[in-house]
Subunit: 205 residues, 2 copies
């Protein structure tokens, strides 16, 4: 492959990623319908027409982001590598790692909420079909190897785990700029995980 063509491909990829990143930033701020193609073009540093060399439509940008930027690729290895001698330690550490990651990079949770709010979850079904088979085994393994679990239904265990993470992040979004923030204890994350752990794990007797 001649160097010229190679560079052109590279540049095309770079521009495509710049468009995606600009779109993420704007979608997070104003939602999907609240963001215009002209805004995306401006933030990505090119003219409106230039976007259409990389994406057929606005909707295609959103779909590409949903697929390309899904956090499970980043999170799954981290969860598997989570340390912890006992079951309690492992699950607790995994929960804290996931929450910290998604709190510091909340774009994907917001994109998921945009999906629900503005697309009625129309992309969601296909996404779950692709991702669930990769996450579910983690919880199936948990159920099999750990003896002190109160919840032994893998799908339910997965749902409750994801739900707990979402509930922390979403209530955090709601509270962040309100008076309640002052009254929230500093160790809210630990307390939150603690509630979940006691809910899922049998008390040592």
């Amino acid at each position: 492959m001649p160097a010229k063509l190679k560079d052109a491909l590279k540049k095309g990829e770079t521009t495509r990623l710049q468009i995606e990143d600009a779109a993420i930033e704007l979608f997070m701020e104003n939602g999907y319908h609240g963001t215009s193609m002209r805004q995306i073009a401006e933030h990505a540093g090119l003219a409106l027409g230039g976007i259409y060399n990389h994406f057929k439509s606005k909707d295609e940008i959103f779909e590409a982001i949903i697929v390309d930027k899904h956090p499970y690729k980043k999170l799954l290895p981290v969860i598997v590598d989570t340390e912890g001698e006992t079951m309690d330690e492992f699950l607790g550490n995994a929960a804290r790692v996931v929450i910290k990651e998604l709190t510091s990079q909340p774009y994907y949770v917001k994109l998921m909420l945009i999906e629900i709010v503005e697309f009625n979850g129309s992309h969601g079904a296909a996404l779950i079909k692709e991702i669930a088979p990769k996450i579910l085994p983690v919880f199936e393994k948990l159920v099999k190897t750990k003896k002190n679990l109160r919840i032994i239904h893998p799908v339910l265990l997965m749902r409750s785990f994801i739900g707990m993470v979402l509930s922390y992040i979403i209530t955090d979004m709601i509270i962040a700029n309100s008076v309640l923030n002052k009254f929230m204890p500093k160790n809210a994350l630990d307390a939150y995980v603690d509630i979940y752990m006691h809910g899922v794990i049998k008390e040592p007797v």
Copy 2:
């Protein structure tokens, strides 16, 4: 007051509510920016210009809905009246009642998500300031009168309760139209509440 004027006021109120209901339905389907004033007018059964006799702007419709339709007025009395001899029974029943109500009438949860997605929570702070003082006492009373609570921080207890309800409803929205729905046990609600209860309440010894 003459009957004529009285009827006019009544009619004005009716139209206003028709506009609000039409807007809720459309906001739920397409979000705020995805809904046009013309769509709202059509669904409410009047001309575009007619809306502006009742609301100054599109934004004012959304604000009015957020305030007028808030479910805490409906939910708070129900929670207070919830039966249950033991602490466990009371909290469990309250959770089930709230979840069932919000699942059958999910418009407010969706409006809340629209708030987060499309307004960055700009109306949220004022709303919390108004509502928190009315909900928080319920949890403060719980902490004071019940001895077997593991979580004795009222704000945290409230956050975890609301978070648990939200997490059930949002994961339900996500799963509803996917393959996962088939693998979800029928008693998911009870199991969900059970996890929370064991997380919050001390085991009887």
